[in-house]
Symmetry: C2
Subunit: 405 residues, 2 copies
Amino acid sequence: MSETSRDSLRERALVLDAADPLAARRKLFALDDDGVYLDGNSLGALPVHVPARVQDVLTRQWGELRIRSWDESGWWTAPERIGDRIAPLVGAAAGQIVVSDSTSVNVFKAVVAAARIAGEGRDEILVDATTFPTDGYIAASAARLTGHRIVPVAPADVPAALGPRTAAVLLNHVDYRSGRLHDLPGLTAAVHAAGAVVVWDLCHSAGALPVGLDEHGVDLAVGCTYKYLNGGPGSPAYPYVAERHQAAFDSPLPGWNSHADPFGMTPDYAPADGSVRGRVGTPDIVSMLTLEAALDVWDGVSVDMVRAKSLALTDFFLECVEAYAPAGRVTSVTPAAHAERGSQVALRCDGAEPVMRRLIERGVVGDLRRPDVLRFGFTPLYVGFADAERAARILAEVLAGDTVG
Amino acid sequence: MSETSRDSLRERALVLDAADPLAARRKLFALDDDGVYLDGNSLGALPVHVPARVQDVLTRQWGELRIRSWDESGWWTAPERIGDRIAPLVGAAAGQIVVSDSTSVNVFKAVVAAARIAGEGRDEILVDATTFPTDGYIAASAARLTGHRIVPVAPADVPAALGPRTAAVLLNHVDYRSGRLHDLPGLTAAVHAAGAVVVWDLCHSAGALPVGLDEHGVDLAVGCTYKYLNGGPGSPAYPYVAERHQAAFDSPLPGWNSHADPFGMTPDYAPADGSVRGRVGTPDIVSMLTLEAALDVWDGVSVDMVRAKSLALTDFFLECVEAYAPAGRVTSVTPAAHAERGSQVALRCDGAEPVMRRLIERGVVGDLRRPDVLRFGFTPLYVGFADAERAARILAEVLAGDTVG
């Protein structure tokens, strides 16, 4: 790279950061100034106020109030309450999201429920063939139990694969590997036109870009909370069940927490109305209230602002990589078109593993998707343009150096 | 009651507490000296060292190391590591328990897996008709999905109900309502004699009495960690899969965490060996490490010591209730025989609801099982004999008072 291009990109980064309406959010997070954390699409950073809030949960709510906290500290209703806080981030009205269990467990609930909603006579479940593997494994298990057949299909080929046999379709909003954003409105409409039920996995989109669940008429969705929602390692996930489907939502995991009268302790199961029906067992309060505290960083932020910055950040990072990296050494597998891009950049790179190791040693934390993808997540609440420039510069230095091979 | 009997019971309580080898454990817990907490069978008390440990998880492991903690802080292997710490408390050798998900979700895994282990040609699942409801709801869902028929049966009637059609039997070790301890060795042997597979729910026995999973040849079990194991509200539960069944354990929730090569991200599922196969999605680290810290209170304690004290405590409480309470006002539904008693006392009582409300106002915290059962859990690590005497005395005062009706 030339000195001029580097100086000019650095200068542009400073100008962009100065104009960034989200720049002030960075101080809400525990981050080192001497590193660039680009793995928030795997584990979001800690909001600095969270530990004190969790201390209160432990010492006062559990330690002093003990069992009374189920009522007095709002533990019992936390799954719905926190679900309602996530709802606006994914374009859902209140009462449709409940925080509960892991993403995998929620995929199971959603796929079985979707197949049941679709009804008799439809025996195929289409599953995104490029999906994060757990979705495919769980969908296959659901299909085995419900007597459906799994049809793996790339998202772009879904419209052609849909038919009168299609019961349900499980799709990822953003591909975890390439960062490709799939066409949620168009694919949802296509699934509906075939009379089938769609389940969207929002793990890599919730908190990174507008999802518009209600607006686009999505049926069911699941998402995780430890990536762009910064809920903490393995924090609980959530199902979304569109209000129109709630009465027909027939969960394969009808635990006592989803009962219409959970403390009636009746031998027969009668499902609760509303999003509560997506609950299973006793909610994992410490993790759940950690997440609830973490969601405070979203106060006053719209997802549209986040999306605008995310696209500007990934554009700028790609521009810096293009300017700095040795020619031909890396190739972006993330789509250039904004409409097809999530909030990460994935670069194909020979010798990706040692490159990522060296990047991490130098403070640029991304991750590796074997065999040859360097993955960099851009979390607009705490990553800035100077971070993007610096990460690209260090990447170029590592690629030009002697650590690869 | 007479002054003499009261004085003599108080005196005996002091003597018993003075001779109690577990008495010193109480100071490990956050408890008020002006109350008696008899709800540890619902939510165990907070071990005082836990908040500092959780702070470290949040501020250093998550806040500073972030994604590196999956390796460097041992997050990834926490489910097996913590499972191995629970193992000796339930009589299991290492490598058979993994901490994961809620009890309800684990009941689902275990019942489906048990039915699959039993094989073709057996189409009935017997379920404890007196069970905590979630077990019955989940078993019914499992049966619906696997094509089995549910047969509700009281534990005592299980031997007569077993037959060549029996695939699996789901039983509670201790009845959550009455506190009755069921005959795990005898019932397990009976189930095996019929060629079926048994699943024990240990929620109300783990940490309260010897379970002897390996010794008695139990096939599968599930348990929770927030009662006698003090793991915190809704802390994750665990499945036990006997080593001889692990290769055949065919989980209905084959999430990526149970894959033989989870980071291979392969489209086909290949289950891991060992207890790891019981995992599903990303482990809920904050809750899980809260539990791990809480388990320190067991260092140097044997479950036999706990059991001896538990029986002495419940005997003594019953004796005090008998001495103090107005005649005929309460009746124990907990068996008098030690071999049939868990670690709680359940008293049938007219007007149980206002009685419990008044008890809680006076600092004696038990709970209510509608319509008419007062439930008192005795957790030997932090409840003493003076507590038992005091609880019985206050109960008698409340029963004799004007708050009932």
